[in-house]
Structure formats: C-alpha cells, structure tokens
C-alpha cells in the first residue's frame, strides 16, 4: 500500500520549497541546527501536503510552530505556502502555553502511571487473568502510540488507529522522498566520496 502520486508530488514540491527557504534562512553553521531545519521543513511539508483533513497534520504544524526557535523558519515556510492564519493561530502564546502544559501533564502522567504500575503489579500477580493482562498491555501500548502520533493525545480507539495508519503511510513517503533527494543531490563527480559517505553513515 503506497500513498497516491498526487500526495507525493505535492509533498515533494513543498519539500523543495521549504528546503530552499530553510537554506536561505539558516545560515547557521551548526550541524544540529541545520538538521533541525531540514527536519522541520520536511515535517511541515508533509503536513501541508496532507492537508488539514488529517488531524495529525495540523497538530504537527502546531507543535512545530509553537517552538520558539523555529519561529522564523516557520513563518517563512508558512508564508510561502500561504497559511498565514494557521501560522498566527499556532504561534500565539496561548498555544505555546498549551503545549508546555501538555508536556507537563504528560510527564506527571508518566510519574503517576509508574506509581500505579508499582501498585498494580502487586495486584496483578494475584489476578493473573489472561484477559486483563492482555488488556493492560494493549492499553499501555495505546498510550505509547498516542505519544508518538502527533495530535493523538485525545484520540481513542478507532480514531487513534486510523490516525496512526495515516501517519505511518505519510512517514513512509517522507522517508522515501528524502532518500530520493539525498541520492539526487549527491554531486555526480564525487562518486568515490559518495561511496565513502554511505560507509561513514553506516558506521554512525
């Protein structure tokens, strides 16, 4: 199962645009910053290409927009794409606060659940029913999945799974397209260096 060609094309377009923008914006020498810029632009491109029909796309954009360091880059990317409203909405302070508070809630949730786990592990040993154990495992994994999928915090059950499905599909195409870009933009003359570079990367 693969994504539609239209999606890939739109994604690639936006990716190139945003990469170009990123190249102009971040003259920073830091590797990490550059990598973050590339990653951000790729994520935003994916989310924009997917459209706002998928909740994870909007959540992803919001998440990126709310980080202060990325604000300049996001502004440029979103302005070229013509999403001023979403940019403004995302960049408001309240949104940032929301994301920050969500992180705090998440952390505290982790603490509480670890406490609960300790207690429940004592209980679970007694009620070692196959069904309940399985259910708990499933629940734990669903929580993990919620953390992974952007915007999946509030989703439950079926919607979470369908969002995850969508997200996985788009992640796959993202990886594909970025690989293609990598290969495409390796300069032709340095074929030896190109062969050496993958070896280095394999070591990493």
């Amino acid at each position: 199962m693969h994504a539609s060609r239209k999606f890939k094309r739109a994604f690639m377009e936006r990716l190139l645009q945003s990469l170009q923008v990123a190249g102009l914006t971040s003259k920073s020498m830091g590797l990490r910053e550059r990598r973050d810029a590339v990653r951000l632009s790729s994520d935003v491109a994916m989310a924009l290409a997917r459209g706002s029909t998928a909740p994870w796309a909007s959540a992803l954009v919001t998440r990126h927009a709310a980080e202060r360091r990325h604000e300049a880059l996001m502004r440029r990317i979103l302005s070229t794409a013509g999403y001023e409203s979403s940019l403004r909405a995302a960049a408001t302070a309240s949104c940032r606060k929301e994301i920050r508070s969500r992180k705090i809630v998440r952390r505290s949730h982790g603490v509480c659940s670890s406490r609960r786990k300790r207690r429940s592990s004592l209980v679970a040993a007694s009620g070692s029913n196959g069904a309940t154990v399985a259910r708990r495992m499933v629940k734990r994994r669903l929580q993990l999945l919620r953390k992974l999928v952007p915007g999946g915090e509030e989703l439950h059950g079926f919607s979470l799974l369908s969002e995850a499905l969508d997200y996985v599909m788009c992640l796959k195409t993202q990886v594909e397209l970025m690989q293609r870009l990598c290969k495409g933009s390796i300069p032709a003359a340095s074929s030896i260096r190109a062969e050496a570079a993958p070896n280095q990367n394999a070591d990493i």
Partner: protein, 429 residues
C-alpha cells in the same frame, strides 16, 4: 448468481429500478460499497486514497429513502439497503426490505455501513454456503471491511474475494464466540442477555416471519437461503434460514442489545484497522493479537521517525547550503515515473550496467515527461541556476546518481527492510 436470477424474477414489471436493483447485486457491489463507505466519517480521513465520485450520485438518490429508515436508530447507514428500493409496488424483495427497516427500527439495530454493504455483498456472492451466509452480521461488518480494504487496493474483485474468506472467518469466529465465552468481556451477560433477546426476537419475528415466509416460498430456494442467511440469531438460527429478512441480528452466542451491538461494531472496526495496519507495517503478517501488533506498529513508527532524523542529518551534510541543483531535482523527479525501473533491479554491482542501460531510455522518456511538470519545479530550478548546460550535465549526473543510488542502497541494509522500495513504488495508486 442465484440471487440475481431470483431478483430478476421478482421484479419483472419494474423497468429501470429493477435493473438498478439487479445492478446492485451484480456490478453495483462496488458502488454500493462506495457510497456506503462515503457515509462513514473516516471517508474524509482516508480521502487521499481513491475517493469515488460515483458515490455522490447515489447519495442524492438515497435522501428520500432516508425518511423511511428514519425510525431506525442511527439511520444514516441503513440507507444503502433501502436506497435501492425506489417507489413502492415493486418486486418481492422490497416489502421484505421495508420489513427489514421495521425490524431494524424495533430491534437494537446495528447500523453500520457494513450492514447495507454487507447485505449487498452477501447477496452478491449468492452461492456461498449456508454457514457462510449464516455469519450475516460478520458478513455485514465484513462488507464494511471489504470496502475499506477496497479503498486501499481499489479493486472490487479483491474486495469481493476478500469478503468471502473474511466472512468465513467471521463465521468461524461466530461459532467460536458462541462456544468460547471465556474470553468475552461479558460472558455471563452475553449468554443471559441472549436468552432474553432471542425469545423476544422469536416473538417479534413470529408474525413477521409468516408473511415473509410466503414471499420466501414463492421465490426460489437460493433466495431463501441467501436472504434467510442474512438474518441471524442464536436460538433462532434454524428459523432464520426459513425467514428471509434482511435485518441485523446478533451473532450466535452474543447479546442483542444496542450496547453490545455497538460494542461489536466498534471492535470490528478496530480489528479492521488493525488488519490494515498489518498490511502497512512490514513483517506483521504472521503476528496475531492486538498487543503484539501494537508493539510492532510502535516500533515501526519510532524507526521511521528515527530514519527521518537521520536522513535530514544526511541531507544537511550533503547539501551544506541546502541548495538543490537541477540534476538532483530532475533525477528525483524522473525516479517517480514508471519508465524507470531502477528500484526493481537488484543491488549487485554487476547489475549496475544493465540497470543503467535500461534506465537510460526510461530516463529519456521520463525526461520528456518531466518537462511537463508543474511550474513550481521550473520556478525553483530557474531560481537556482542559469540552466544553460542542462542537456550535457543531465545524463552524466544521472549516471552518477544512479551509481550512487546503487551504492547507497547497498549501504543501507536496514533501510531496505523498512522503507521498502518495491517495484510497485513506481506504480502508485
């Protein structure tokens, strides 16, 4: 199919509507699935895959029929079935359908899109065995499953064939559910509730079954089998075969109140999603069980995210200034075209030469196609370079990039597992 023949007999005097009805069974299965699918809210979510346009036409035809099924709870999804019984005074099957609507309204109706679609699907299969038909509820939801899967694969036949094993599996599941109540969440409830419900159901269906039996007898036995097989019931399983109602009943050994039906609907939707995810995540075909599947999914998502990070790092190092040159753009663009078969060829070095030779003509074709690209690329490319030396640079760059492609692919053993570049990569949906 038997069903079609009998339906033909049933509506001799009805011109277009009869044809329409019949088409629902024979060829309209896909459209049925389509517009039933449209009713689902997740049609929007997965809209990027194969949104049928025919559905919209059918939807308008359903609006008047919705009034009939308004009494049914959550009536929207029931529409597909009665939607194809246009004005009254039609053949034998339509009163049955209205009876179905009543029944559905009265009983706790499972109103899934699969109900209508599954009914159609079950009818469309026609010659399935009794046990196959017996798993009607499963058939209903599996009809839904089918057109979900069909969205992804865009093959009605596949949905058709997929429906058969899946409904058989559901049939097996039915019996297992009846017998093995240990794993059910509310086993006692199920048994107890079902006793009550089946008696109610039997009492309710008594008067209706009589008048449906007449109609059932006048049509040929296969019809009775198929339509009777559609209804299901635990205690009334034998009766259900005599009845020809198209209404939803609980599966064997399960409660029939609305909550459990809705629960089952939810659970089946979820399991259907899990199956889709199973297809998506590589190496999950043998895995059964939600927990392990979810584990695999989580691992896959994490690995994909890590890959994205890694690739972004690589992109940032390869292109220090993040400027993208024409050759890169064109080669990547050409890789998308079906003419390029590089990804389907193996990665061994001695294959490189035939690969390059093969890809060259493909590239030239693709190159011709690339010129008709959206303007954005043009804009970007023109922004980047003077563009005078394209022709000479291109073949050389593409040669080089393909050798790099091969070399890089050899150096990416892990990535090949995860981001598979299968031959159908070039042949997208």
């Amino acid at each position: 199919m038997d069903m079609n023949e009998s339906s033909e007999k049933g509506m001799e005097g009805n011109g277009s509507s009869g044809v329409e009805w019949q088409s629902q069974f024979s060829g309209g299965f896909s459209t049925q699935q389509h517009h039933a699918h449209m009713m689902d809210s997740f049609a929007a979510a997965s809209g990027m895959w194969a949104a049928p346009s025919a559905a919209s036409q059918n939807m308008s035809g359903l609006s008047d029929v919705n009034g009939m099924s308004a009494a049914a709870r959550g009536a929207g999804f029931l529409a597909p079935v009665p939607g194809f019984l246009p004005p009254p005074g039609l053949g034998a099957h339509f009163p049955v359908d209205s009876g179905f609507i009543e029944r559905a309204a009265r009983s706790s109706c499972f109103v899934g899109p699969g109900a209508g679609g599954g009914m159609m699907g079950v009818g469309g299969f026609g010659g399935g065995g009794d046990q196959h038909m017996g798993s009607t509820f499963g058939g209903g939801s599996d009809g839904y499953l089918d057109h979900r899967r069909k969205d992804d694969k865009a093959e009605p036949e596949l949905a058709g064939s997929g429906g058969v094993p899946s409904s058989e599996a559901a049939g097996g599941d039915c019996s297992s559910k009846g017998s093995d109540s240990k794993k059910r969440r509310r086993p006692s409830e199920v048994m107890g509730g079902d006793q009550v419900q089946s008696s109610n159901v039997a009492a309710d269906s008594a008067n209706e079954s009589t008048h449906s039996k007449d109609r059932g007898e006048e049509s040929s036995p296969p019809t009775a089998t198929t339509t009777g097989g559609r209804s299901k019931g635990k205690g009334a399983k034998e009766e259900s075969e005599k009845e020809d109602y198209i209404h939803v009943r609980a599966r064997r050994g399960q409660a029939t109140n609305s909550h459990s039906l809705a629960e089952r609907l939810r659970r089946e939707k979820i399991s259907e999603r899990m199956k889709l995810l199973q297809d998506l995540v590589p190496g999950c075909s043998k895995v059964t069980g939600k927990a392990v599947m979810l584990d695999e999914i989580i691992n896959y998502v994490q690995s994909l995210q890590r890959q994205v990070e890694f690739l972004s790092m690589k992109l940032s190092t390869v292109n220090p200034r993040l400027d993208l040159n024409l050759e890169g753009l064109l080669s990547k663009d050409l890789l998308r075209f079906p003419g390029v078969s590089s990804s389907s060829i193996g990665f061994s070095p001695e294959m490189m030469h035939p690969q390059l030779q093969l890809s060259q003509p493909g590239l030239m074709q693709g190159g011709a196609g690339a010129m008709g690209n959206p303007d954005v690329f043009r804009r970007i490319m023109q922004a980047q370079l003077g563009g005078a030396k394209d022709g000479s640079q291109m073949p050389h760059a593409l040669n080089g990039s393909f050798s790099d492609h091969v070399a890089a692919q050899m150096a990416y053993p892990s990535s090949q597992d995860l981001s598979i570049r299968p031959p159908q990569d070039a042949y997208q949906m």
